[in-house]
């Protein structure tokens, strides 16, 4: 799960990280009011789950409250990477002496959380990693011991030779790590971490990605989910316990198992079609889930055919077939449907489906070809 910059700032603040003030506005008037409260120059920043806000015009400096209102007006409603900006963060502009990068990421290769610092802040860390990796100092944290004070200190001295700045940075690094662990993060970034001419180190921007699997025990973090920023179909799927991701194609895919679902999408493409989605209904043959799957796929107006690909391992194919029949009794599906069921009790399943007027197949390649043809209108 992604959370917004202003939410990540709240979490950091709760862990003691010095984060300058800042408030969220959903209207230009609100932004003006907030800016007036601070006085002086402010920054207005789009709160949206997409990178590259700056380049997209989502971050603007405003001279005063009236200007903040104008800037907020320009940013609110902006489309950034397909997402509409609904909120802006208004924060006093900071005096910046230096900008650095500080990030923690769950690293699969080393099976540890890796802390990265770079004195080249405010930039894209992936770009720095690709072009001059020597500018990034990395540390793999041994989770058994946690981040040790001397490790935080060594990273801090890699950023600042001045002891006063380094001591502040060491504290911030430890606090960020605590926040990262406590909030179930897989990524947490402060970019830039600034020092001011007065010798203070502060977190200006903040980004956090949360491990979905950790949310069940983090109700406070779960509460930060911005449902408005979610795709409605994806939200509906999530709430029904389905895993769904919308794509641009026209063949709706409903599969049991994530790997098989991806392979099915790939096969749609292989046979000249375009998958409309990733949808994993898991091992259940519960008609409720099948109903929801139909509702989600049919709500995508681009979808022209629906493809079921079910491998009955533990799941019995006849159970799934009954689920599909039951679901289509409850809701009307106008689109052509191609179904493949293989494995345990497949013959029974095919009989059930045919009796109820469905196309029923047992081969994965065949059903994909059929669904692609249906979507292309080259099949009845």
């Amino acid at each position: 799960m992604n959370i917004h910059e202003y939410q990540a700032r709240e979490i950091l603040r709760a862990h003691g990280v010095p984060v300058p003030p800042g408030e969220v506005a959903t209207t230009p008037e609100e932004a003006e009011r907030i800016a007036a409260g601070y006085g002086g120059m402010v920054v207005v920043k789009a709160q949206v789950h997409a990178g590259g806000r700056g380049k997209a015009g989502g971050v603007k400096l405003a001279d005063d409250a009236a200007d903040a209102r104008e800037k907020a007006d320009a940013i609110l409603g902006l489309e950034i990477k397909g997402l509409t900006v609904e909120k802006v963060l208004v924060a006093p502009a900071e005096d910046i002496a230096t900008e650095a990068y500080l990030g923690i990421v769950m690293d699969r290769g080393s099976q540890s959380d890796v802390i990265m610092v770079s004195s080249e802040g405010g930039i894209d860390i992936e770009e720095v990693a690709a072009t001059h990796p020597e500018a990034i100092r990395k540390l793999a944290v041994d989770a058994r011991y946690g981040l040790l004070p001397h490790q935080a200190s060594a990273l801090a001295y890699a950023l600042y030779s001045d002891a006063k700045l380094a001591r502040q940075a060491a504290r911030i690094i430890s606090q960020l790590y605590e926040a990262y662990r406590a909030a179930g993060c897989t990524l947490a970034e402060i970019n830039p971490l600034i020092s001011t001419p007065a010798g203070e180190v502060k977190a200006i921007d903040a980004k956090m990605n949360i491990d979905d699997n950790a949310l069940f025990r983090l109700p406070n973090v779960e509460a930060m989910r911005d449902e408005a920023a979610e795709d409605p179909a994806e939200r509906k799927a999530r709430e029904a316990g389905l895993s769904y991701i919308q794509l641009d194609g026209d063949v709706g895919c409903c599969v049991n198992g994530a790997g098989l679902a991806m392979a099915t999408m790939d096969l749609v493409k292989y046979y000249g079609g375009e998958p409309a989605n990733f949808l994993d209904i898991g091992g259940s043959s519960n008609p409720d889930k099948v109903v929801t799957a139909f509702e989600i796929m049919t709500s995508d107006t681009k979808v022209k055919s629906i493809l079921f690909n079910i491998f009955g391992g533990i799941t019995r194919c006849d159970d799934v077939a009954n689920g599909i029949v039951e679901a289509t009794r409850r809701i009307v599906v106008e689109l052509p449907i191609a179904i493949r069921l293989t494995g345990t009790n497949e013959e029974l399943a095919v009989d059930i489906l045919k009796e109820n007027g469905f196309e029923a197949m047992t081969d994965m390649d065949e059903v994909v070809k059929r669904a692609v043809a249906m979507a292309a209108g080259t099949s009845s």
């Binding site: 058994r144 179930g184 897989t186 491990d211 790997g259 098989l260 991806m262 392979a263 999408m265 790939d266």
Partner: protein
């Protein structure tokens, strides 16, 4: 023959009285696996299906029955604790089926398992099956048949699909292992490839990867440098968009890292024949046996 399990493997099932645990325990017993004990705290003293004694702790189960392996079917909130417990009790092999384990929990569970000298498979995996010998996990016994092909995969049903197609074409398997779809897992491709290379009953290996991470790329180099047996591969997720988690917690393209294209080209560079479709794996394997 087989890898990681054999006819002597004796199993304790953690969560044996739960919905999934009880179902799959019956399936495992039916397939011939020696299930010697179950564990559900608070249900110690009961007997599951009139044949398997239930204990409050894994330590007690191991002490009383000498179980050498454990299968974990407990809710995600308790899965890492179950892994710690199994490792602490001294079993050699721990197979964690549970999906949805927080990655932060695995950060400490993995070194613990290593320190205790155990092997963990999973979490979020279907487990493993040695056709005709036994199985730990949820892989369906009826689709496999004994033979020379080792299968290692990050997926569940996609693996079943491949096994099923091989079996239909009369090609049997030595051991089939699902290593799990999570970003942090106990046993990776290389661990399995090394074991298959050493296993006399395995003649060729099918490796089924997916988007996310670099485990397949590392495995490809291992195949090039250390394997004499033929390996063929498939990667799921060629059409997956970047930055989205495709069902599995580990199936995500981060930035430009972990794409299917990158993995397929790593395979090819290391002389691993790549199947475009799952069905193509059959022919690729057949021609190499």
């Amino acid at each position: 023959m087989s890898i990681f399990i054999d006819g002597n493997t004796s199993l304790v099932v953690q969560g044996i009285t739960g919905r999934d645990g009880s179902f799959h325990t019956r399936q495992m017993i039916e397939y011939g696996t020696k299930v010697v004990a179950g564990v559900t705290p608070g249900k110690g003293g009961q007997v599951f299906d009139e044949s398997v004694p239930v204990f409050d702790t894994v330590a007690e189960a191991v002490e009383k029955t000498g179980a050498s392996a454990s299968a974990i079917y407990v809710p995600a909130a308790f899965a890492s604790s179950a892994i710690f417990e199994a490792a602490d009790a001294g079993v050699d092999l721990i197979v964690c089926i549970t999906e949805g384990v927080p990655v932060g929990d695995m950060m400490t569970a993995l070194p613990y398992v290593r320190e205790k000298g155990a092997r963990l498979i999973g979490p979020n995996c279907p487990g493993l099956i040695a056709p005709g010998i036994g199985k730990i996990g949820i892989l369906p016994g009826q689709i496999v048949t004994p033979g020379p092909v080792g299968i290692v995969s990050r997926s569940g049903t996609l693996t079943y699909e491949v096994i099923f197609q091989l079996t239909r074409h009369g090609i049997g398997q030595s051991t089939c292992i699902g290593i799990g779809g999570d970003p942090l897992i106990g046993t990776d491709f290389v661990d399995c490839l090394r074991a298959f290379e050493e296993d006399p009953s395995t003649g060729a290996v099918a490796m089924i990867g997916e988007i996310g991470g670099t485990d397949e790329q590392v495995a490809a180099e291992f195949v090039r440098d250390h394997m004499s047996k033929p390996v063929v591969g498939f990667i799921a997720g060629q059409t997956a968009p970047p930055g989205r988690r495709m069902g599995h917690a580990g199936a995500i393209i981060s930035g430009s890292e972990g794409t299917a294209a990158e993995k397929m080209s790593a395979f090819r560079e290391c002389d691993i024949a790549v199947a475009e479709r799952p069905a193509d794996l059959v022919g690729l394997i057949e021609s190499r046996l």
